[in-house]
């Protein structure tokens, strides 16, 4: 691995080593540029990951537990501490612990405002790029990161230039039951594409179906995380230094309005300033806007790249609805990947429903013994005693979930701001999340709850129930907070992820999203990263990045 002195002006500082930062660093370092990655978390390896549900996502090494977050529904309320807004905080970011379900967006996702028209009370808008422009990069993602799937079987899939590099994962019982239900109801069950290796690929081993995907780091490197796929290439490039336990507090700017590097706290909480010709902010939909808001200067008193006040606004989380069923025979859903079959028959919004919204639905099991024993049984089951024990014994392996991944509309009032009262362990203002579902989002969740119940029924469940429709108060898949657009007045970054305000600052992660599509953001984040990197390489060669003049 390369080593740089902080006062050496490297070509790029990349903030965050998740899938976006990993891809950017890989593309730029292998193209000959000097790169420093600053990662908040630790460097964990396969041997560090454990099969332990009690520890599970509780590892501060995997997630942001050291970083307090506060939550409120509207700006009339005082925000309270919440551990519910969480992100991956280790080398590889969220892709270390995610389940790996990784779908492309559809052509329509980029032009929904044009298709459906405005939605009252929202900033519903088209993306400033099309599916066709992103398609080569989707293909690049699937082949370079390592995806398993089956293209061409879904009638709803947008055109693809190449098949998936690896066949889909073996189907699970939940997938077979989803197929039965879909056939009965006239829907189309298709293999779920996963960032997971169904066969050995490019020197990495295949999945062993241990079942510890969602919430865990993969012990065999078969999950195509940033850690397993691109970080090894970054390290071999000889031009990139990966600094862990590096908590960035500011992206600095010169008098000409160009970024000069990043100030971070090292593992000993000592401040370090790393100089760079350009900064790539890939810190996720929560931390990217927070860092911009923290980076106040006389030129940018409201935070960096925030002349128009849009940074942090239009926050959209992953939201959904679900139903559950108990079946006659064993499903053993605790084995292998989270989900193997999904349907997109209700993907598109339908004006006939009387609101905007759509979703994707998949079939899956429970999330392990502890989660199931505490909350996975039907609501009418006794909560303790011999009948509880009997239900636990009989149903752990026979219960499945139909999970819908739904739209969340972009609303200006849903946002990430700096909490005026709460500080983190470094003395910086904590992020404050303000979020309340749009009425259409709630109607959509109710619609999908019904579809999920129908599917459970059609699959032949001997007992079924559904979770009540809830307002989102705990969420991942954070999107929209540095939205892309052609108009510098209403968006933070341009169609190549460059900040409108600053020619040598790029923001690439879920924060760039204009709409949620149907959740599952990773594949599109990855494609945007490959595309932005391509463009940055091009701009570097023609001198249009514009490094700080005082360098």
């Amino acid at each position: 691995m390369a080593k740089f002195k902080p006062n050496t002006q490297v070509d790029f500082v990349v903030i965050g080593s998740g899938i976006a930062g990993g891809i950017m660093a890989k593309e730029l370092s292998t193209a000959g540029f000097q790169v420093v990655i600053l990662e908040q978390g630790d460097y964990l390896h396969e041997k560090d990951f454990r099969y332990d549900q009690l520890k599970k996502t509780s590892t501060s090494s995997l997630l942001n537990d050291d970083v307090p977050t506060t939550f409120r529904q509207t700006d009339k309320e005082k925000a309270v501490h919440s551990t519910a807004f969480r992100y991956g905080r280790c080398v590889g970011g969220g892709t270390v612990h995610y389940s790996g379900s990784s779908w492309r967006h559809h052509e329509s996702d980029f032009i929904e405002r044009s298709i459906y028209g405005p939605v009252a009370g929202t900033g519903f808008a088209d993306w400033p790029l099309t599916y066709a422009e992103l398609e080569p990069y989707y293909t690049k993602v699937e082949w370079e990161i390592g995806y398993s799937g089956l293209g061409g079987v879904s009638p709803f899939e947008s055109p693809r230039s190449k098949p998936y590099p690896l066949p889909p994962m073996p189907n699970k019982s939940s997938g077979v039951l989803m197929e039965r239900a879909a056939q009965k109801l006239g829907y189309h069950a298709v293999p779920v594409p996963v960032a997971m290796l169904s066969q050995a690929y490019r020197g990495r081993s295949a999945c062993i179906h241990c079942g510890f995907c969602s919430g865990y780091g993969c012990k065999v490197g078969a999950k195509s995380s940033s850690l397993a796929s691109v970080i090894p290439i970054v390290e071999k490039s000889g031009r990139c230094e990966l600094r862990t336990n590096s908590y960035v507090r500011e992206i600095s700017v010169d008098k000409n309005g160009r970024v000069t590097g990043a100030v971070y706290f090292d593992a000993n909480k000592k401040e370090v300033f790393q100089r760079a010709k350009a900064v790539l902010l890939c810190a996720n939909g929560l931390e990217s806007p927070r860092l911009l808001l923290l980076s106040k200067s006389s030129l940018f008193p409201n935070g960096l790249a925030n002349t128009n006040g849009v940074v942090g606004k239009y926050f959209m989380p992953g939201c959904g609805a679900s139903a559950h069923g108990i079946f006659e025979h064993e499903l053993n859903e605790y084995k292998s990947v989270t989900t193997t079959r999904g349907i997109e028959d209700f993907y598109n919004a339908d004006p006939k429903r009387g609101y905007y919204g759509g979703g994707r639905i998949d079939a899956r099991g429970n999330n392990g013994p502890i989660t199931f024993a505490l909350g996975g049984l039907p609501p009418d089951t006794p909560r303790w005693g011999s009948d509880y024990k009997k239900a636990l014994k009989e149903n752990f392996n026979r219960t499945l979930t139909i999970q819908a991944f739904c739209t969340a509309l972009p609303q200006e009032s849903n946002n990430i701001t700096l909490d005026p009262d709460v500080k983190d362990a470094w003395g910086l203002a904590a992020m404050r999340v303000t979020y309340k579902d749009h009425p259409d989002d709630m109607k959509n969740k109710a619609f999908f709850r019904e579809r999920a119940l129908e599917l459970v029924d059609a699959a032949g469940a001997i007992k079924k129930w559904a979770d009540p429709v809830r307002e989102e108060k705990a969420m991942g898949h954070t999107m929209g907070t540095c939205r892309m657009g052609n108009d510098p007045k209403t968006s933070v970054v341009d169609r190549f992820n460059r900040a409108h305000d600053i020619p040598n600052l790029f923001v690439v992660d879920g924060s760039s999203f204009v709409t949620t599509a149907r959740n599952h953001p990773t594949c599109t984040i990855s494609a945007l990263a490959f595309r932005a990197a391509d463009n940055i390489i091009r701009m570097s060669k023609n001198g249009s990045i514009k490094a700080p003049t005082d360098s």
């Binding site: 099969y51 332990d52 549900q53 009690l54 520890k55 599970k56 996502t57 509780s58 590892t59 501060s60 537990d65 501490h81 551990t83 519910a84 969480r86 089956l150 061409g152 079987v153 066949p167 889909p168 994962m169 073996p170 189907n171 699970k172 019982s173 077979v176 197929e179 293999p191 169904s198 062993i208 179906h209 241990c210 079942g211 510890f212 079946f327 025979h329 064993e330 499903l331 053993n332 605790y334 084995k335 292998s336 193997t340 013994p369 502890i370 989660t371 199931f372 024993a373 505490l374 909560r383 303790w384 005693g385 011999s386 509880y388 024990k389 636990l392 014994k393 752990f396 392996n397 705990a474």
Partner: protein
């Protein structure tokens, strides 16, 4: 009378309860991470020493009461329950490591349990000395208390958590529910994929 619960405790309990109600127990688990690590180290030390686990928080007398409550939450019948799985040891370690904040809930809760026992069963001694039917009657009367919510959550978690935390001894909990803990499997995984012609995964479109 219940003592007021400190703000910190209250928040912790709320997240604990919220977790059990919504299935989002990872939120609770998350907040406990440093302690969980300590609990693991403790458990591993005990395992290495080859001696039975000592109680770190409960007195012998309290332990008998806690074990009896746990044994009603997951009773022993034709299959082993919380008692055989050692849920008491899981709880005791939780209270000396990752869930120290919950100590007062147990201390006060055991007092409530004693009082309720005397109230409902005249001339009774300890809860652990009651018949099963009497114990169930007492627990139903305190079912909505924070103490019961807490001990339920701990008992169930300990029953199916990794055995190194003190509960789920000899994988009693996992064996009961049918979790194999082999950590590598091959298709078919269950009954339906085993039955299906489409199970190979390469379904033709």
């Amino acid at each position: 009378m219940k003592k007021p619960i400190s703000k910190k405790q209250g928040a912790s309990r709320r997240s604990f309860l919220a977790g059990s109600a919504t299935g989002l127990s990872s939120v609770w688990l998350a907040s406990q991470w440093p302690g969980i690590l300590a609990a693991q180290e403790h458990a591993q030390k005990v395992a290495r020493s080859g001696k039975p686990g000592k109680l770190g928080f409960f007195s012998e007398e309290q332990a008998a009461e806690v074990e009896s409550v746990a044994a009603q939450i997951i009773p022993t019948d034709e299959t082993p329950g919380a008692r055989e799985a050692g849920c008491l040891y899981f709880i005791d370690r939780a209270l000396t490591t990752f869930d120290r904040e919950q100590q007062p809930v147990y201390t006060q809760g055991l007092e409530t349990l004693q009082a309720k026992t005397r109230e409902l069963v005249p001339n009774a001694g300890k809860f652990s000395g009651l018949t099963a039917a009497q114990q169930i009657q007492v627990l139903k009367a305190i079912e909505t208390t924070p103490f019961f919510a807490q001990i339920r959550l701990h008992t169930i978690t300990g029953f199916v958590a990794n055995p190194e935390y003190g509960g789920n001894q000899d994988k009693i909990g996992w064996n009961l529910i049918g979790f194999e803990s082999k950590f590598h499997y091959a298709a078919p995984f269950g009954y339906y994929d085993g039955q299906s012609e489409l199970s190979a995964g390469t379904r033709k479109g």
